[in-house]
């Protein structure tokens, strides 16, 4: 059980490092290709070609690490698959039929079609890749949203669940906020990566024209997406957690006791033994206001719920949530500042801000990872919220020795994959967008 959980957590976390960049870049690439097509400007074509290379690398690693996830539902979580397959089988099969074929068929055209096809065909392929990757995200989040907030199901006589209404499953109210929050976060990741690379080229005085386009595109898209990521999508998500999963909400905030006029905890360390927060820094009454629009509203604490329904790793959940929110705030501030400086025409000469943008590229990755940890650790002890406990979902006959063997295998293989990816990205960055590799200092 422990190894099954670790394996799924590890493989899905590692996998999601890639699609968040691909989904975000798909949108930015569509913009760049449209711009290139509309203006006929060779500069934008070259920018689009360069980012297509990075897109393809990330896509490749996303594909090879994504396949294990679909198989692991069956291999490691057989009882869950049997229990819930009648519902989530719908969304997973639809993802394969509608999204994966679309993406993979047009990826070949974008990759190998540079010389064979016209700009218009390549623009169309970029559009299809955008649609495919965002649809893929939609179906997989519909699956997750159902695990967070099960709707539209019927219970068969043997206790298994079947879908009761497909439209209900696809329009799960949970999905709206989750999808919009997740996709804006993906655009934030891609924008930060684009802006950071622009900042790097500009600071090192290479590919300066390209660097400015990267920065302009990344900063404008990033500022819009970062703002939307916080409000309304992040806010909407938090509200629906408090409405439908109040235990999770209480654990987010480190709220052990039910109170009126609850403050918003900025910093502090949860102490599980004494059920208190050490070194708290609190904005008075703010949580009550944010969640219920009312300063003295009552917010239920963990004490209002039976102990066996508490998430099983409270401190990790608490920190994941605070890292997500904290970093999210930092990301909005950096992009806001950069946008202001861009508007004032001072961004390209503000070295301190370029340094800040360059160094902050990993932050959106950490924030999204923390966000997913918040959603998933917070769902515990449930696999399907309120219906199936995680402890009842694992494969009955796969013993822990086998699960540990494969977990170690995945750790080893993904370590190599991670190094390979970084190496190839570094190579691509070294070659640069102009098509002429810049010789290193030694040469």
């Amino acid at each position: 059980m422990l190894y099954d959980r670790l394996q799924f957590a590890f493989t899905s976390t590692f996998h999601y490092l890639f699609p968040q960049l691909t989904m975000g870049l798909a949108l930015l690439l569509l913009y760049l290709r449209s711009r290139a097509l509309a203006s006929g400007d060779e500069h934008y074509h070259q920018v689009a070609r360069f980012w297509t290379k990075i897109f393809v690398l990330s896509f490749t690693f996303g594909v090879v690490t994504g396949i294990p996830l679909e198989f692991q539902f069956g291999t490691n979580w057989a009882k869950f698959s049997n229990f819930a397959g009648g519902v989530i089988g719908q969304t997973l099969a639809m993802e394969g039929m509608f999204a994966f074929f679309l993406e993979s068929s047009f990826l070949g055209i974008l990759l190998f079609g540079e010389k064979r096809f016209s700009q218009r065909v390549q623009w169309f392929a970029a559009l299809m890749l955008f649609l495919g990757s965002w649809l893929s995200g939609y179906f997989i989040l519909a699956t997750n949203a159902w695990m967070q907030h099960p709707v539209a199901y019927t219970v068969a006589p043997d206790g298994r669940l079947f879908v009761g209404s497909l439209s209900g499953l696809l329009t799960n109210p949970w999905l709206f906020w989750q999808y919009s929050h997740n996709m804006t976060a993906a655009v934030v990741t891609a924008s930060f990566v684009m802006a950071a690379l622009g900042a790097y080229y500009l600071l090192s005085d290479r590919h300066v024209l390209y660097a400015k386009t990267f920065l302009r595109t990344g900063v404008v898209a990033g500022a819009i997406a970062a703002a939307l990521m916080g409000f309304p999508t992040g806010h909407g998500n938090a509200r629906q957690v408090f409405e439908h999963q109040p235990i999770k909400g209480a654990a987010f905030e480190g709220l052990f006791k039910t109170e009126r006029g609850v403050g918003l905890l900025l910093i502090g360390q949860p102490n599980i033994e004494t059920m208190t927060i050490d070194n708290p820094l609190i904005i008075p009454d703010a949580l009550s206001f944010v969640v219920y629009d009312e300063l003295y509203a009552e917010v239920k604490g963990l004490d209002a719920f039976p102990h066996e329904d508490w998430p099983d790793n409270l401190p990790l959940l608490y920190y994941s949530y605070h890292v997500m929110v904290g970093l999210g705030t930092i990301l909005v501030s950096i992009m806001g500042l950069a946008l202001l400086w861009l508007w004032l025409g001072r961004l390209f000469t503000a070295n301190w801000l370029l340094w800040l943008l360059m160094l902050s590229a990993p932050f959106p990755y950490i924030a999204t990872t923390a966000g997913w940890m918040t959603a998933e650790i917070g769902r515990q002890p449930w696999l399907v919220y309120g219906l199936l406990r995680t402890s009842d979902g694992a494969s009955p006959l796969v013993h822990s020795g086998n699960a540990l063997f494969t977990l170690l295998g995945f750790l080893g293989i993904y370590l190599v994959l991670g190094l390979l990816f970084l190496f190839l990205i570094a190579e691509t960055i070294r070659h640069g967008p102009s098509g002429h590799p810049v010789p290193s200092e030694r040469a």
């Binding site: 057989a78 997973l92 039929m97 796969v398 293989i413 190579e427």
Partner: protein, 342 residues
């Protein structure tokens, strides 16, 4: 009725997968032998470069459809073959990376490394596919609540407590590797010219000869390993059309090969693969997973199903989705139609 439709749909998706990714695997098997120079290697890889990813998606879609239509069989089968399936995943990772990353760096050692990874992973995957089919035919020891776990090997005999590898499944694995090598060599011959095409034709002829022998052995073994197949065919003799069709396709493939009709031979091996899988599905129906211990424990299209509403509503999106897939796949394959141009 709906159950039978979905049984056919999942079989069909898997069969198309075997035909399409089959030539990728087959090309991987013969790759180190036929493509010796760097130029030939690039040409061989370019023959599948734009399409392999789309081909692989048929497997993902088939898995998704199995999950959707027969969740109980998906859960039992995937957890029961735990180790084998995870190893398949690792091999698929290696194959995918080899195809995508090889061209990124112009360095001899880098390219040699990915060549070995591509050929090795493709060969093992071709064997594993056949072994998997062998396991479905032979059956597995299902418990009353519908789960099982088989070790990678036990005593290499079929019987009530078999391993994933036994003499029969190994025979199926080798047969599969030979068929796919034949298939992939025909594909490569069809897509190339000159010396590389000559090498591919030679490899196709060798593999084709092996296929003739191995298919004969496998077809003889099946009724002994799984008597329920014999009973199924005896009860519904219409099904004999599939194995006979397969034999005809094999004869045609060998004859067309002899006459150097590369495209014809490729279509014939495609039909051979489709017919072999259809024969298996006909023999197995209505079972999805056949219990070796007690036939009552077998998971069938009725006791593993996902419920009437889900199957009905699935029909709509499946038909729409399938139409779209055909459109994309025709687009993708047509875009790279004809001989490889680098």
């Amino acid at each position: 009725m709906m159950e039978t439709f979905w049984y056919c749909a999942v079989t069909w998706m898997l069969a198309v997968y075997a035909v399409l990714d089959g030539f990728d695997f087959g090309l991987g098997i013969i790759y180190p032998f036929v493509a010796r120079s760097e130029a030939d290697r690039c040409t061989a890889l370019a023959a599948i470069g734009p399409v392999w990813n789309g081909n692989e998606v048929w497997l993902i879609a088939a898995g998704g459809l199995l999950f959707f239509a027969f969740p109980k069989a998906y859960a039992a089968g995937f957890s029961g073959f735990y180790l084998a399936l995870i190893i398949v995943l690792w091999l698929l990772i290696a194959r995918g990376l080899a195809l995508e990353l090889r061209s990124h760096l112009n360095h001899t050692l880098w390219r040699q490394f990915w060549d070995v990874a591509f050929a090795g992973a493709s060969t093992l995957l071709a064997i594993v596919l056949g072994t998997a089919l062998g396991n479905l035919i032979r059956g597995m020891p299902l418990s009353q609540d519908g789960y099982f776990f088989v070790a990678l090997w036990t005593n290499f005999m079929t019987g009530p407590d078999p391993g994933i590898l036994d003499w029969f499944t190994i025979l199926m694995g080798i047969t599969s590797a030979a068929i796919l090598a034949f298939h992939g060599a025909n594909y490569l011959a069809m897509k190339t010219e000159g010396q590389l095409r000559g090498q591919a034709r030679h490899a196709a002829w060798l593999a084709g000869s092996a296929v003739a022998v191995l298919v004969g052995l496998a077809l003889t073994a099946v009724p002994f390993v799984q008597p329920s197949f014999r009973l199924n065919y005896a009860a519904h003799p219409f099904g004999y059309i599939f194995p006979f069709f397969g034999m005809a396709a094999l004869v045609a493939a060998l004859e067309l090969r002899r006459r150097y009709w590369d495209a014809g031979a490729f279509y014939a091996t495609s039909l051979l693969i489709l017919a072999m899988l259809a024969s298996t599905a006909w023999g197995s129906y209505p079972n999805i997973l056949i219990a070796t211990n007690d036939p009552a424990n077998s998971l069938t299209v009725t006791n593993a199903t996902a419920g009437a509403y889900g199957m009905h509503v699935g029909l709509w999106w499946f038909l729409i989705g399938f139409g779209l897939i055909i459109a994309y796949q025709v687009c993708a394959h047509r875009a790279f139609w004809g001989k490889v141009r680098l």
